[in-house]
């Protein structure tokens, strides 16, 4: 399936891309667009204002994905807290990991040429976060 989001991915979008590949659609194909109108017609938009899979109320897009796809994995719920704090910077959950994740991904954005390369690298980051939290949560 095709998925599209805005260019210049930061925490929420990189985390959503990882979530899609690992838990929703292993064969996912991603498109990064300057304007949502440029997205392929059949692509599902995410983290785009007004889309189904986007911010809603207080939730960031990652949290919306968990609700929309009934992903009840407690480890994902923890990652959602970290992503929320890094994305909305409101310290809702007071997760200390958020600040580190925010800095690392900002740095990777500067170091990597495009979003496709970025999400390949950040996948490893979220795999690691998942493995680490899994030990603590389960």
């Amino acid at each position: 399936m095709r998925w599209a989001t805005r260019r210049g991915c930061h925490v929420d979008r990189t985390a959503c891309a990882w979530l899609i590949r690992c838990f929703v659609d292993p064969g996912a194909e991603f498109f990064f667009v300057g304007d949502p109108a440029e997205a392929p017609r059949e692509a599902e938009l995410f983290d785009v204002a007004g889309a189904r899979l986007s911010h809603h109320g207080d939730d960031c897009s990652f949290e919306t994905f968990l609700a929309e796809y009934d992903l009840e994995d407690p480890v994902l719920a923890e990652i959602a807290e970290i992503v929320h704090d890094a994305d909305l910077m409101d310290e809702k959950y007071g997760r200390p990991e958020s600040e580190g994740l925010d800095s690392i991904i900002r740095g990777m954005q500067l170091a990597l040429p495009d979003d496709e390369a970025l999400i390949h690298h950040t996948d490893a980051l979220y795999d690691g976060l998942y493995a680490y939290l899994r030990r603590e949560v389960l």
Partner: protein
Amino acid sequence: MDAAGVGEADAGKTRWLILIYQLPREPSRHRVAVWRKLKALGALYLQDGAAALPEDAVTREQLEWLQLRVREAGGEATLWEALPNTVAEGRSLVDEFRASREAAYKDLIAAAGRLRRKAELRSDGALLLEELGKMEREFRAERRRDYFRSPLRNEAAAALRAVRRVLKEGVEAERSGGAGGGQ
């Protein structure tokens, strides 16, 4: 100072984002929430319902979500990218941003001084470390919205480092002192 030098060069070039919005008077919680979020981002109100931030990927994204939030709450919001008409106007906005962070840094520097004196007098290090952790979090939040490096930033950072050093030494002395005391 070096920080001021950076600002001089930046002042004319900085692009700004301006969120112009209007929300229904009631319920007031939406207006409060939007105001709080803008304050947390370090935005300055140019006038009622018009808030400015220097443009970067983060401020753009945060303001886009805020715009959506205003609309979801039944209000109107438009987001603009802007350049001040004159260098002087840009510079005065930068100065205003810097000044807006000064008070918070001053408070942090004063609080760090008080904590340091406490640390030098008393020995309940663990409790004081917790207090310091809170202040360090406040400092990081302040630094995030300090877009033009207020001159007091370095002073605040140094004050916090100094307290941490005193506290660490105190806690270690407490530990070895306790062991030596044969408790």
